[in-house]
Subunit: 224 residues, 2 copies
């Protein structure tokens, strides 16, 4: 039932399905067809059915999908039935902001510690958790069976920290540093490159402005 590799395009859509299904569930909706979900989410019904069928049949002909069941199944596929223990490395503004973001807990991402290399921060408490010195990193990860590390450190030190982490048994790195990390197989990296995202927005703003004033050249444009 398992074993065929699922494309990252599909995986990337699962959290959005999960979110909409959660909302429907909260609204008390019991069943939904791919067509109804299509209308709400603005994706084709065909894509919805194809996506779900990558994991086996969650629906029933003539009926549709049971919202609560589908929600649960997608959560399971995403690994949200398991808990993850995470640490944050880098107690700057972003690191502290993420540490304070309690919503992750609800999904089983448990905040277990935060590290920094700045001695003036040692001992400062964030969500009742002391900021720890980097020297304690390896021991802490092993002793507490941490499986995820959040990297909110400057790009200059990210590669080195990733290398240290790769010997600790960590399973995934959520990387906010603006570099491509090079880690061994078996360690997953998920990048959040905020400046890349902002640049995309800048591009699209520009593009739409150019479309609105369809200048000179495009008016001269004649087909071949």
């Amino acid at each position: 039932m398992d074993n065929k590799e699922i494309s990252q395009a599909v995986i990337g859509r699962l959290p959005r399905y999960f979110r909409f299904l959660g909302e429907l569930k909260d609204e008390g909706v019991e069943r939904i067809s791919s067509q109804e979900l299509s209308d709400i989410m603005n994706v084709t019904a065909s894509q919805i059915r194809q996506d779900f069928n990558n994991f086996g049949g969650f629906g029933q002909q003539g009926y549709g999908y049971n919202v609560a069941y589908l929600y649960e199944e997608i959560g399971r596929i995403l690994g949200l039935d398991k808990t993850h223990k995470l640490i944050i490395i880098g107690a700057g503004n972003l690191g502290q902001a993420l540490a304070n973001y309690t919503n992750f807990d609800r999904r089983g991402f448990l905040f277990k510690g935060i590290f920094d290399c700045d001695p003036s921060l040692y001992g400062k408490k964030i969500r009742s958790m002391e900021i720890r010195p980097m020297e304690e990193l390896e021991d802490f990860v092993k002793e507490n069976e941490i499986d995820m590390a959040v990297l909110t450190i400057p790009k200059a030190s990210a590669a080195q920290v990733a290398r240290r982490l790769s010997h600790t048994g960590i399973r995934g790195i959520w990387n906010f540093a603006h570099v491509d990390l090079d880690v061994p197989d078996g360690i997953q990296v998920e990048n959040v490159h905020l400046s890349d995202s902002l640049m995309k927005l800048a591009y699209n703003i520009n593009r739409s402005e150019n479309q609105m004033l369809p200048g000179f050249e495009s008016q001269l444009m004649d087909e071949k």
Copy 2:
């Protein structure tokens, strides 16, 4: 020379090219071939040439690409030659963290103001900028010709704030709220859904763990 729509797949790669070229430039590298860049970036040389040629020829046969020139051109394509004035709406942990992130300034994203609806925050200063009440939003955007708004508010209020923004002449919304915003044409939305990203990481960790202990079923698996 313009006018053909560029796919978002290509746009999404531009910031990464930009980053690598910036680094090469800083290292004093003068020219680079698509093959050399391919080796560094782990994408095919063919894709690199195709991507660049969407915007016209930046290279020269037999020579390759001039690093400084290519860097500049990609920056221009991304709209980084223009400055953008942005405000942050929501002065919570994340909003304050982004406000303090001075690196965006270097790329022409100028932090012009921060808003919140919590009166106890009014007047508090972040980067020498007072937190403003939401009532002032519309006037402020118009008077200061703000073109981008960063939404770091709870999902419950995001839709309403987006609606208010859509009447101010804003051009783009960088949305950190965990909802899909519905805005008029001509306003660009770039989403940063952190919890979606974290879920993808959880999925990939799970997947790799299942691959490593290739249990029972996969051993029984025989072709067709």
